[in-house]
């Protein structure tokens, strides 16, 4: 789907307005560009001068003209260098601003964690999309401006020489550009198709490479290679077709230039026969026509990169213009009072976008200092509930209060330092364990971090690592096992010293023996603090003060483990399945 050229202009104009770095010092820059574009006009004028003097000049004249011409060339080159450099530097500044703003906005919005499958695509907002705009500036944007300046100057000079001939050139050029823009749309569509099939082929190649173990275990090499071959072939033809169209368009510029040269000679001679148009002027005119063609060709090629850039910009503005789903209460909010606090939810509903209701009418009251377990099957809404409590998302209806204050009124500064959430997949940065724990509390010293591990009884594990706290965890923590990553994530939450801890299956991958030990430590540490634990093992529920049972988005049961087991409801069934899965009944 190719957007029209005018659409591209609209979004480019908006960009220039919203990112002032792009247009800083633009007047001076344009002045330099204009001056620089004059450089190629000097030789034709010089030729005209020589020819029109029809041999009636002295060597002295030539030296003067030559010196003037050479000075002009040098000045224009310097101006052109200044203009282009300033344009490109302004572009680099603007793109930097745009990248940082988009990145920041994405973090303050909720799409990154509510639509995880789109993360890869969102990375493209600050990489590939910005790169497309950069390419436009590198290859087109500057060239477009310079080319435009050249066309304007050349035409102006032509009008000075002969308004009749210049009029002819101007009208035919306009017609030609009009046709080019029309066909550019055909080309744009072909390019879109090509891009689509390139993406498809690369995805299939990617699958084959990342799925090697699966492919080999099932002996599916031939099948996969067949698919790849087909996709690559489709890519080739789509790409090739687009290029043929582009090349044909490019080549028409030659035919245009040929016709216009012939036209200028013919008409010019006829005018010259009747009026007082000199041969020198006509020759200069023919030389000027040649100068008109190159910038036009470049501009045609630029339209395509302009459309890619515009598409990237549109996607970026879709991020920047959308509201932050969960806004900070900021200074006008009410911070949490010191000491422990409880949780109250009333009539809470939640749905992702227009999707089905994930939570319906959740009413919960948790007193300060209580330990709550949340259980339910996959898709029951228990993780969503935990995320709402820490205000990673906003309920679609109802209210959540912490310590009597609606969570939406608590500034994030206060909320994030008193309430910590530990997700199931403890995400680690590609650095040391020390730095990863410090991510929770940047001001913590190495001794603080070590103490946090000691608190949780993890010193044995830590001393088993080759470099202890300084051990590098690798990309996404890949040098640690999933369980070990969870240990670091838990410590990172603990060092914040929260009054309210929300754990979402935060120890699910930890070795059973170690988990036992960890649970004892947490029981000790969490005394006087409130906790909400989304549990995968019902043994956690057995130890909680109270259990909340979720089923298909509703809170169906609540009470102590013992009471729920006897109740004969959802929990009883879950407990039976759980018991069936453990050793005693196998």
């Amino acid at each position: 789907m190719s957007k029209s050229g005018s659409g591209a202009v609209v979004v480019l104009t908006k960009t220039l307005k919203e990112v002032p770095a792009f247009t800083a010092g633009i007047k001076l820059t344009l002045g330099f560009v204009a001056l620089g574009a004059g450089v190629e006009l000097i030789p034709p004028m010089f030729v005209r001068r020589v020819i029109d003097s029809a041999g009636d000049f002295s060597k002295g004249d030539i030296y003067v003209w030559g010196a003037v011409g050479m000075t002009g060339v040098v000045l224009a080159a310097l101006a052109s260098r200044a203009g282009r450099t300033r344009l490109a530097v302004a572009a680099a500044n603007g793109l930097h601003d745009l990248r940082v703003r988009t990145f920041e906005r994405l973090h303050y919005r909720s799409i990154l964690h509510t639509q995880e499958q789109r993360r890869g695509a969102l990375v493209a907002r600050v990489t590939a999309d910005i790169d497309a705009i950069q390419r436009f500036f590198d290859w087109g944007g500057v060239g477009l401006l310079v080319g435009l300046a050249r066309v304007v100057f050349t035409l102006a000079l032509m009008f000075l020489l002969s308004w009749k001939l210049a009029g002819l050139v101007a009208i035919t050029t306009t017609l030609y550009v009009f046709l080019l823009v029309k066909f550019q749309k055909v080309l744009g569509r072909a390019h879109d198709r090509a891009r689509g099939s390139v993406a498809n082929a690369l995805a299939i190649a990617g699958e084959a490479v990342s799925g090697v173990p699966t492919i080999r275990a099932h002996g599916a090499q031939k099948h996969i290679l067949g698919r790849l071959h087909k996709a690559l072939d489709r890519e080739f033809w789509a790409d090739f077709k687009a290029r043929v169209i582009g090349n044909a368009l490019f080549a028409t510029a030659e035919l245009y230039s040929g016709s216009i040269t012939a036209g200028v000679v013919v008409v010019g001679v006829l005018i010259g026969v009747r009026d007082s148009f000199t041969s020198g002027e006509l020759v200069a005119f023919v030389l000027l026509v040649a100068l008109l063609v190159d910038p036009l060709q470049t501009m045609v090629e630029t339209i395509d990169s302009m459309q890619s850039a515009a598409a990237g910009l549109r996607r970026i503005f879709a991020v920047l213009d959308a509201d932050i789903e969960v806004p900070d209460a900021g200074a006008s909010g009410t911070p949490l009072a010191s000491g422990g606090f409880g949780l109250v939810t009333s009539g809470v509903n939640f749905a992702y976008g227009d999707g089905p209701q994930v939570l319906t009418d959740i009413n919960v009251e948790v007193a300060a200092g209580q330990r709550i377990a949340v259980v339910g099957e996959t898709g029951s809404g228990k993780t969503t509930f935990a995320k709402l409590v820490v205000r990673l998302m906003e309920p679609t209806a109802g209210e959540i209060q912490l310590g009597g204050i609606p969570v939406s009124d608590i500034p994030f500064d206060s909320l994030r330092s008193r309430v910590t959430f530990v997700p199931q997949e403890g995400f680690l940065l590609d650095t040391t364990i020390l730095e990863n724990v410090r991510f929770g509390k940047p001001e913590a010293t190495e001794a603080d971090v070590f103490k946090a591990f000691t608190d949780l009884g993890l010193t044995d594990w830590l001393s088993g690592l080759p470099d202890g706290l300084q051990a590098a965890v690798g990309e996404r923590g890949s040098k640690l096992s999933a369980g070990e990553r969870q240990l670091v994530a838990l410590t990172r939450a603990w060092i914040v010293d929260p009054d309210f801890l929300v754990l979402d299956e935060a120890t699910s991958a930890v070795d059973p023996a170690l988990e036992l030990q960890l649970r004892d430590a947490l029981n000790r540490l969490l005394k006087g603090r409130t906790s909400l634990t989304v549990a995968h093992r019902l043994s956690t529920a057995q130890a909680a003060d109270s259990v909340l049972v979720f089923d298909q988005g509703k809170l169906v049961e609540r009470g102590t483990h013992a009471a729920l087991v006897d109740a004969g409801g959802v929990y009883t069934k879950m407990f039976e399945d759980w018991m069936a899965g453990t050793a005693s009944s196998a």
Binding site: Q117, G206, H229, L255, V422, E515, L538
Partner: protein, 623 residues
């Protein structure tokens, strides 16, 4: 379900599986050349071009002919302009010649030259495009084919992201030098041809033109080389910026729940700013060269007109000849600017090729045997004899492991984390070969089997499932011709019937990374169906239902037990529910079988086994 629940599979992934390379790492665009020399780049570049020409000689010929036509047309155009100036414009305007026939001839000539030039441009560009795209296509296919043949030792040592980046970015870089190649050839023809042409008109002007063009070439090559090095540096920073974005967005939940958005933005801003500064430096240096290069034709023209005018004064030259030379210079304006680009594309392409060759030149292929025999009967007999294995030298995972499973038996392999269970499974599936010892299936050495024999008899479902961007059916059959009825049976046995039916297009729904997002448990059930539909003689289930809800898992296991599969089954499991499916349990610890027997026997005789299986319950009771 609208949102995908983070799969428990990912969380439970063991370190060994990460070593298998099953995690898809981020794509890295960085990693340009280390420090190539000008000479090595030229040498390698020409060799590379030779290789590509050999593969696509036809399109190369078309491109070269196009380039010659193009260059010829430009040279002809300058002659035509000279002729028009002297024999048309002056003749008519200054000497009152008859305009009609002269103008007609002039028009024909101009059109003819323009036509030849247009055809030349088409031939040049279309030929180059075909050559570049076909070579890229062929190279991509070859790389993937090559990777599929390599053994896991090699595969597991390379991050998947790196391999993908070779297939995508490096192939594009490598073939990039083919696009401007014909134009460069045309430019060289032009530069030499125009010097010659001017030389033929007048030796003084010829020498001036040739020396200006020589200066431009030197300037261009220097500029291109300097700019390339800065560009490589910039690309590295670009890669770092991308890496920060990938990492930071991956950890978005953690970033937000710890309120670290501003700190993360600052982290990106620092790298992005340094990228901006490098970009600005590159532009400044590049533009200094480029504006000099751009000024050369104009400067040359001024000198030529001045010198030419003096020659005209002394009657050596006509004004038309001066105009012709000036026109020629104006036509050289673009070719001259692009000639230097060749060195740039040489440098980028050879750097890309080094990484492509890093895969294609290594031939650590899986070696298949000649044994084409197939064994009769339903269940296979497994014999593992004195097998030792280590992923990395000095870190043994399995030591002298012995194990036999009679045909049709269902056995469970149970052991603590990192005891080597998954490793045993991947050895049975022959994803890896033992470092010593032998594994036999019905008395045939796995390593001696011909290609394709083992996958026909064995199916392997792991806890980490890989789905292809294909329909549910396509993901299950993986290209095999299987009656729909059998596929549906497998789907039912795998407990996937209900959710597959609820998908928008049922069995035809596209799943995989880029389409319908399934939950971890659903993915595992598709993979289980994929294994079951093959009716293998040996079925290996490696924690294959770990992400499935317990109640669903119970149903699946009951179904499997009732189905009387035609297979010998090896189950690797944590949960007692899966173990209960087995006739016999092998207790694995620290890389060897410690004990074997029924579940009850082991509970009674092996304290370690009992402790492992009761850990969760104990946890519950203690608390």
């Amino acid at each position: 379900m609208n949102h995908p629940t983070p799969s428990r599979t990912a969380v439970r992934r063991e370190q060994q599986l990460t070593r298998l390379g099953l995690s898809l790492k981020r794509d890295t665009i960085e990693r340009m050349v280390p420090q190539p020399t000008f000479r090595s780049v030229l040498g390698k570049g020409f060799k590379l071009i030779g290789r590509f020409i050999k593969l696509q000689p036809g399109s190369f010929a078309v491109a070269v002919v196009g380039a010659i036509l193009f260059a010829g047309a430009i040279l002809a155009a300058s002659k035509v302009v000279g002729w028009i100036t002297d024999d048309v414009i002056f003749a008519i305007l200054d000497n009152n010649a008859e305009p009609g026939p002269l103008l007609r001839r002039a028009s024909y000539l101009v059109f003819a030259v323009a036509g030849v030039k247009a055809v030349g441009i088409m031939g040049r560009r279309v030929g180059a495009g075909w050559m570049q795209l076909r070579n890229a296509q062929g190279l991509r296919f070859r790389i993937v084919d090559h990777i599929l043949k390599m053994d896991m030792d090699w595969y597991s040592k390379r991050p998947v992201g790196d391999m993908l980046s070779v297939v995508e970015a490096d192939v594009a870089f490598t073939t990039q030098l083919l696009a401007p190649l014909p134009f460069s050839i045309a430019s060289f023809i032009l530069l030499i041809g125009s010097s010659g042409l001017v030389l033929a008109i007048n030796s003084t002007l010829g020498i001036i033109v040739a020396s200006f063009l020589g200066a431009v070439l030197v300037l261009q090559f220097r500029a291109s080389w300097v700019v390339f090095k800065m560009f490589a540096e910039l690309q590295r920073t670009r890669g770092q910026v991308a890496a920060i974005a990938y990492e930071s967005f991956d950890g978005a939940l953690t970033v937000k729940s710890l309120g670290r958005e501003a700190a993360e933005t600052a982290r990106l801003e620092e790298r992005s700013a340094s990228m901006r500064d490098q970009q600005a430096r590159l532009v400044k240096v590049g533009e200094s060269y480029r504006s000099a290069v751009r000024a050369v034709p104009s400067a040359a023209a001024v000198v030529i007109v001045a010198v030419g005018a003096i020659q005209v004064l002394s009657g050596v030259l006509t004004l038309g000849e001066v105009a012709s030379v000036t026109y020629l210079l104006s036509l050289l304006f673009w070719p001259i600017q692009l000639v230097g680009f060749v060195i740039f594309s040489f440098a980028a392409s050879t750097a890309g090729w080094d990484r492509v060759a890093g895969i294609l030149d290594v031939e650590e292929f899986v070696v298949h045997g000649m044994d084409e025999s197939t064994a009769p009967g339903e269940g296979a007999e497994i014999e593992v004899a004195r097998v030792s294995f280590a992923y990395l030298e000095g870190e043994p995972v399995l030591t002298d492991l012995d194990l036999t499973v009679p045909p049709g038996r269902v056995v469970a392999i149970v052991g603590p984390t990192a005891s080597g269970k998954t490793t045993l499974a991947v050895l049975l599936a022959r994803l890896w070969d033992p470092r010593s010892g032998v594994i036999r299936l019905d008395h045939r050495d796995l390593a001696g089997m011909a290609e394709g024999v083992l996958p026909d008899e064995m199916a392997y479902a792991s806890q980490d499932t890989f789905l292809f961007d294909d329909s549910v059916r396509g993901n299950i059959t993986l290209g095999l011709e299987i009656p729909e009825e059998d596929v549906l049976t497998a789907v039912r046995l795998a407990g996937a019937e209900e959710f597959v039916a609820a998908l928008p297009e049922g069995m035809d729904t596209r799943i995989g990374e880029r389409a319908y997002a399934l939950s971890g448990g659903q993915r595992q059930r598709i993979a289980l169906a994929r294994a079951l539909v093959r009716r293998p003689r040996l079925l290996i289930l490696d924690d294959a239902t770990s992400a499935v809800d317990p109640s669903v898992e119970t149903t699946i296991l009951k179904g499997l037990r009732a189905a009387e599969l035609p297979s010998t089954v090896v189950i690797i499991a944590y949960r007692a529910s899966s173990i209960s499916l087995s006739d016999e349990v092998f207790y694995l610890d620290s890389g060897s079988i410690v004990a074997r027997g029924t579940h009850e026997e082991l509970l009674a005789s092996q304290p370690g086994y009992a402790k492992l299986l009761t850990a969760y319950e104990a946890a519950g009771e203690d608390a």
